[in-house]
Symmetry: D2
Subunit: 402 residues, 4 copies
Amino acid sequence: MTRVMNVAMIGGGFMGKAHAMAYASMPMFFWPAPAIPHRKIVVDVTDAAAEAARERFGFEEASSDWRAVVERPDIDVVDICTPNNVHAEIAIAAAKAGKHIICEKPLARTIEEARAMAQAVREAGVIHMVAFNYRRTPAVALAKRYIEEGRVGRILNFRGTYLQDWSADPDGPLSWRFQKRIAGSGTTGDIATHVVDLAHYLVGPIAEVNSMVHTYVKTRPIQQGGVDKLGASEKSATAERGEVDVDDEVISMLRFENGAVGSLEASRNAWGRNNFITFEIHGTEGSIHFNYERRDELQVMFRNDPADARGFRTIYTGPAHPYGEGLWPIPALGIGYSETKIVECRDFFAAIAQNKLPSPNFEDGLRTEYVADALLRSGETGHWERVEGAAGTERQWTRAQA
Amino acid sequence: MTRVMNVAMIGGGFMGKAHAMAYASMPMFFWPAPAIPHRKIVVDVTDAAAEAARERFGFEEASSDWRAVVERPDIDVVDICTPNNVHAEIAIAAAKAGKHIICEKPLARTIEEARAMAQAVREAGVIHMVAFNYRRTPAVALAKRYIEEGRVGRILNFRGTYLQDWSADPDGPLSWRFQKRIAGSGTTGDIATHVVDLAHYLVGPIAEVNSMVHTYVKTRPIQQGGVDKLGASEKSATAERGEVDVDDEVISMLRFENGAVGSLEASRNAWGRNNFITFEIHGTEGSIHFNYERRDELQVMFRNDPADARGFRTIYTGPAHPYGEGLWPIPALGIGYSETKIVECRDFFAAIAQNKLPSPNFEDGLRTEYVADALLRSGETGHWERVEGAAGTERQWTRAQA
Amino acid sequence: MTRVMNVAMIGGGFMGKAHAMAYASMPMFFWPAPAIPHRKIVVDVTDAAAEAARERFGFEEASSDWRAVVERPDIDVVDICTPNNVHAEIAIAAAKAGKHIICEKPLARTIEEARAMAQAVREAGVIHMVAFNYRRTPAVALAKRYIEEGRVGRILNFRGTYLQDWSADPDGPLSWRFQKRIAGSGTTGDIATHVVDLAHYLVGPIAEVNSMVHTYVKTRPIQQGGVDKLGASEKSATAERGEVDVDDEVISMLRFENGAVGSLEASRNAWGRNNFITFEIHGTEGSIHFNYERRDELQVMFRNDPADARGFRTIYTGPAHPYGEGLWPIPALGIGYSETKIVECRDFFAAIAQNKLPSPNFEDGLRTEYVADALLRSGETGHWERVEGAAGTERQWTRAQA
Amino acid sequence: MTRVMNVAMIGGGFMGKAHAMAYASMPMFFWPAPAIPHRKIVVDVTDAAAEAARERFGFEEASSDWRAVVERPDIDVVDICTPNNVHAEIAIAAAKAGKHIICEKPLARTIEEARAMAQAVREAGVIHMVAFNYRRTPAVALAKRYIEEGRVGRILNFRGTYLQDWSADPDGPLSWRFQKRIAGSGTTGDIATHVVDLAHYLVGPIAEVNSMVHTYVKTRPIQQGGVDKLGASEKSATAERGEVDVDDEVISMLRFENGAVGSLEASRNAWGRNNFITFEIHGTEGSIHFNYERRDELQVMFRNDPADARGFRTIYTGPAHPYGEGLWPIPALGIGYSETKIVECRDFFAAIAQNKLPSPNFEDGLRTEYVADALLRSGETGHWERVEGAAGTERQWTRAQA
């Protein structure tokens, strides 16, 4: 009998929508499901907002008191979809109450917070996960498979980007994402961490970074109404402006523990790039390229192909690829944001069912925070900065040893 | 107060999955929702199958008796997700019972069936829709907007394709899709009708066709188990084989009532093409190109752009485009099959709420059947064949009159 | 000792430029060269034009009297770069004078002319070639190699396009290309024949066609000055206009002698398409796609690739591919129009050196004219029209027989 | 009267081929030509090699004594197509003899050599140019136009790559390009300098770099025969191996004098990338993307496009774009390597005719060498390194000041 698990979702914004959809849909896709998530209760900042979220997202109950909710004995899972500033507090309380936790990314505003969160879940022995959903894209999981099976050889180089333009207009509102007090950091925490998570997943731990960090848009119109609508927000050239105290661009070189090197670029000022999460990996036996804007596809090149038929293959993911058994019956029917979140949901509940930590869990999220911290530090010092906890980097290896 | 409407879904396969996901998710995306679909009861061929579908897809009840279900007074909407052979019977019964109906495509196996279905819903005065979901892709709706606003001028030419390869292997199983008795036709009904629907939506009614229709794969292994799994099916080179009595390729020239011309190609033998629904439209003021495999994007070219900055634009759909208010807050987060079905669901319930027929409704579906019929006839005669009910084609117009 | 051969080039326009460049450059690329073309004499309509062409294109002499030139005993090769209306006359005279001939495409205005030209070269025993240069693109020759080696199996389907927009503006000048008296036909002869040549090269002889032929732009400003500048021409909305008596769009279905089928579309009204020569071929073992606008690349898919690594490969042509030994030392340095013409020149002189007819020769060109004629006939009758001289089409074969 | 200028070309390898083609072809394309280059004499290492080059490349004379040649009074132009180790010596001698000079890139092995070369041409008052041909691609010149006209606003960010794989195989031969004594450096000098040249051309002087420099392939088979054939070379897994003492990968962050920032990656280990020269530029008003492998195209996005029609445009260069008047009459006929070299040749002789230094001249080449030197230095120190002669970097500016 598949177990029904009660979910308390804290936060009813854009991320709440995505998670609620996944709770409703996951068992339809992955069947038999590892568990049946039940939308038990949703929490928002006011009773009215919570009630609206309840109706919209199909939860049984609503509340504006997350502290009470996370302690309710009938709750199995706490889902943190809030802005970054309350991640730590909620997660720690939920852990103490013995709840399994899925937390939106980035894990926290600071490494102190992240460290405390990791400690809390460790002590509580609950299952925990950070919602870096992009690695759940089937094409990304396929890249992982190729790498693990050695099909592109030893990795020399990783180049990742995350470019957006929804906030390139200096007249877009000063939402919480532009305020250090709430967000912790800007581009670094919000989107560069996705690239770091992909790098950790595909290549391994980052040991050192050397970065540039900038803030081009230094003021923005003060936001009317509290809801963060990203690219759908109203622009205003006349409203009173407040200070942006977080970064909007980070560029970095990377050294991995295993000797691979690479680079990372994340920007909110990249006109024409929407959700341009890309990576390119050069290995000794081939290369891989991915662009989330065309997320049904993975590009892969194998050097051992015949000389006259060698080139990047465009693989559309489907039943023959990771998660294919649960998604759609042919490739290119379509992987959207929904599908990535459904896969994430499946892996989270599978972890609970198997009582085995998924990845990225809070420890992984903490390591990502260490990298984010090193990125910000290096942006100030202008030097290579070690990632906290990183093992020594392998000495540069050569192709002769490959 | 948003009305809750009880849905009876007939059929619990791949399409049932997609529809169930949409019922659960639609109000989360489009809020306030036009109605709240309630997954009341699901019907499948056996009690066991129905019960499994109920649990998996989150319905309240299960049944193997669709006749009883469609007459239940507590049912508002009947959703037909079955193979084509029972579309007519169910739809006519549902109409007679006064239910609103959404029916998977193609509407029916034959024009006789389709005609009877259209008549039944006409007489019953219910709301009806055919699930040609691809026109619900935001990029396709954006193409429609450009055309309606005259931004590409008068349309000269439409070229559409639907190419697949999940059944290109002659050792894939003889599912119902390869049996005329159940499916009515092969490629023509199953996928070419999608292109016809897009052509009707974007350009207008097709008046005449001149086609070639082929069957390359004439036998297939008899299917073990009844479930159609498309590309995820097992292949077998040794199993006993049965006859394929439907087409697997259709190529046609098109003449539209408004004087535009075009072509259509649909094939199940196109290795490397997965769900390759494309169209290209040449107008007097610009051109449009779409490829569903990259469905977040629309390509558009405006001739009036400056001479040194003229070229196809790649538009990623988002908040500024059709359905953008309900989907994701920035472009390229990702339109998958799920999102197209959620939009379809929204438009269906909006039609019910407004008591106004949506498109494509059964009349549109019937016209598409007339085109399918003309395609099959022309494939036999080798001549231009008129589409039943089509008005006279405009005499060829010239650019001087544009 | 490599032989030096004296070339008389008739016509000093855009095509003259391309050919002169090839004469100068071919031995630099393909060395040892099959022969050294010597730019002996260039002919244009006036002495002044000829002298200008001589200086510009590096010829030794100039003349305005092609009749005298083609009879000169020191001339080895006659190169016909004129508008279509004098192809036949010049070619027949050159053949009678025993000269080897390369003639720009299409071979002639009518099948009568083309037949007479083919007969003349046949009787004269000279080497002859039609300058359908696009099949000399290395990526196209690679497609040919794949097909000949059976790597995509038996061909089911060929879909070819040639779309342009340089004349989509109705205010572009009425150059000779829009006048039947000079050009013979419009889009059909000028660009559709390129697609026909590619189809013949890659698939085999076309047996039957069923087409639509249109003229959308029925008048154009009468041209000032005689030079055809294609897209670089001045537009005028006020100049006096003359009639366009040739087609600007042709769409056709195709049946090949070997049982393959296909389609063809050529248009001068396709905004945003510049030199959009594409083909897609579906075979029993794979598929091929080519787009001349990205001519360094060939897309190929092999069905026998591993299930999780199957997709179109993007092959950049280079040393490992046809003509690679003579072109550039790595792929993607760049194949331009120049390179296609240099390859064409090489193959023509290699044919002379080996005294072996190249392809496409005048017989091939005549067959292409037969197809063009059938296209125009079918455009009038609305029926399938047989291509003159075509053998019977194989009965439709099936995959079971493949 | 267009002046005929005598060219002495030193070096008859792959680059000699490209230059000889350009000398023969340039006036055919750009007419009236700024000058008529006459292929007077070619020099190679032996008399036999020189004589072979003379015949192949259409020169009047041949020699193995470059010192004598550069002093001949009938020589107007010296063209240096040799390996890097003799650039300085030849250029300085040619300058002293008063010859105009075009020199292949990189200018020299070291900044000392480059400095001496720049001084020599400065003192001699001759015209000089470095053959960074990629900025002559029409699409790159179009990017320059957009930037100069302010159409993408102030530049925030430049990201450039040059990725190749012709030498990714460790069993490719140890040609001169892998020997410091001859080449000066590896990837840095050979290909990263192209990116630096593009960055200087499009954005402005680079002030500081912070890089990683690696050598993965540390030994290679000793080359049989002296000729560098790049990707067309024979591979050998068994031959005796020698040491590679130059870099094969460089990754760097960049700071420009004008406050823009960026990154650069060049690698010879990037399987699947052939001549992958790309740049992406984010400005305050738009973005530009270029990929040389698809060099007929430029991608540009203007933020001021209507909200529902905003996206990267794919511009195929043609008559409406830089150099369009001389190249082909419609876009996408094809820009190959030949065309870039023809344009380069035109600009060089135009500079001579106008007695006005072209760009990149030796001063520009020297600045590029300074950047290359800083890249190599930073690769050792792990710190930001200033580029010699660079002015102070502007303090970071903000979008509010834009």
